[in-house]
């Protein structure tokens, strides 16, 4: 966890931003990709997230970890974009709805990592913001307690959602084998 080195002045803000960007730059890029399929809009979203993050550090007081801070800012910026563009986007679904949807690829042996990634991204992009936040944090390796702290969900609900995510991912990506391995 990063302590606020100052009272939120420009230098402290810069230091915190650079630390956050260096530790979570990759995660932010993945997050932007999971919220926005279009490359130009994805780049705009990533830029908005970085700007919001830099601005947010003016008020960083160490009350939560740097990781929690960064993910909250990033998901909140991305969610406001989802809300803004909801009229022009396809209907988003919940994890429960995804679990009950047929998937044409079920049971297929996935050997192509790129294809698996594209399918994973497509799956995430159909989810409602609350479920999207949980699955993205889960994929980033964030533990359930921290997911609760970032999202504001109860630990019970996080546990249920993570369990459901594991079921969906297992069914869609692992049944019949693991990707990344040669078939022949």
């Amino acid at each position: 966890m990063a302590e606020a080195p100052g009272s939120g002045g420009l230098a402290a803000r810069d230091v915190l931003y650079e630390q956050a960007a260096s530790e979570f730059g990759g995660a932010l890029q993945r997050l932007a990709g999971a919220y926005e399929a279009d490359p130009d809009r994805r780049q705009d979203l990533l830029q908005d997230i970085h700007i919001a993050l830099w601005r947010s550090f003016a008020t960083f007081d160490g009350r939560c970890s740097l990781r929690t801070w960064v993910y909250r800012v990033a998901h909140n910026v991305a969610t406001s974009q989802v809300i803004r563009r909801r009229a022009h986007s396809p209907t988003l679904v919940s994890l429960d709805e995804v679990a009950s949807m047929p998937d044409g690829h079920d049971g297929e042996r996935l050997v192509n990592r790129q294809r698996a990634l594209e399918r994973l991204l497509a799956l995430i992009q159909t989810l409602k913001p609350a479920d999207r936040q949980v699955i993205l944090l889960y994929l980033e390796g964030v533990d359930a307690v921290s997911i609760g702290e970032i999202t504001g969900m109860s630990s019970g609900n996080v546990a249920i959602k993570v369990h459901r995510i594991k079921q969906i991912l297992a069914r869609r990506f692992h049944e019949g084998g693991s990707y990344g391995q040669s078939t022949s």
Partner: protein, 189 residues
């Protein structure tokens, strides 16, 4: 049944997507300034549209032969000022707040949905109704000034009423959709 837990394979596949992704601090500073400028330009555009409406009704205010039509134009101009004030205060496109990190994702999401719903639901009181007295006077004034064209004015009034009702209905429908989203969010938290 799954043959193996997905965790390791999928998370490593997920994280292998990118490496780094940070932006230069100087870029962030300059883009933040540009971002604020963009927001200011967007807000100015809203005011520009209001000025356009006010200019149009000002012509009626000065030139129309009938006092009721002039009164209608004056009321419509006042209504435009009121709507611009409301947009500026409650609904203008603003830069992202600095306290984004102090709000959990669930609370932020809920507050954004609730804000939009309340704006849509209250559109009658702050966007549509303020224009009604002015337009009513305007229609009556136009009909009184030109009795021969009263039927044309009546037709315009009916189209206007239908348009207002349509806008109100569409907004109420969208607000009900947001209500459902908020309920689902509450149930899932």
């Amino acid at each position: 049944m799954a043959s193996q837990p997905p965790d390791d394979d999928l998370t490593s596949l997920w994280k292998a997507q990118t490496d780094g992704g940070s932006m230069m601090l100087s870029d962030i500073r300059s883009k933040a300034t540009k971002f604020e400028k963009r927001i200011r330009r967007r807000n100015l555009l809203e005011y520009g549209a209001a000025i356009f409406v006010i200019a149009g009704f000002s012509r009626i205010l000065w030139n129309h032969p009938h006092v009721l039509a002039r009164a209608g134009a004056a009321l419509t101009i006042l209504a435009t000022f009121y709507v611009v004030y409301r947009i500026h205060k409650y609904a203008s496109v603003s830069a992202m707040p600095e306290n984004l990190a102090l709000t959990t994702c669930r609370d932020f999401h809920r507050s954004q949905l609730a804000r939009q719903r309340d704006l849509l639901r209250s559109i009658w009181t702050w966007y549509l109704l303020p224009f009604v007295p002015g337009l009513l006077f305007l229609f009556i004034g136009r009909a009184a000034a030109d009795p021969g064209g009263a039927s044309r004015v009546a037709l315009s009034a009916i189209v206007g009423v239908l348009m207002f009702l349509g806008i109100g209905w569409l907004n109420e429908r969208a607000a009900r959709g947001l209500d459902r989203e908020i309920e689902m969010l509450d149930a899932a938290s």
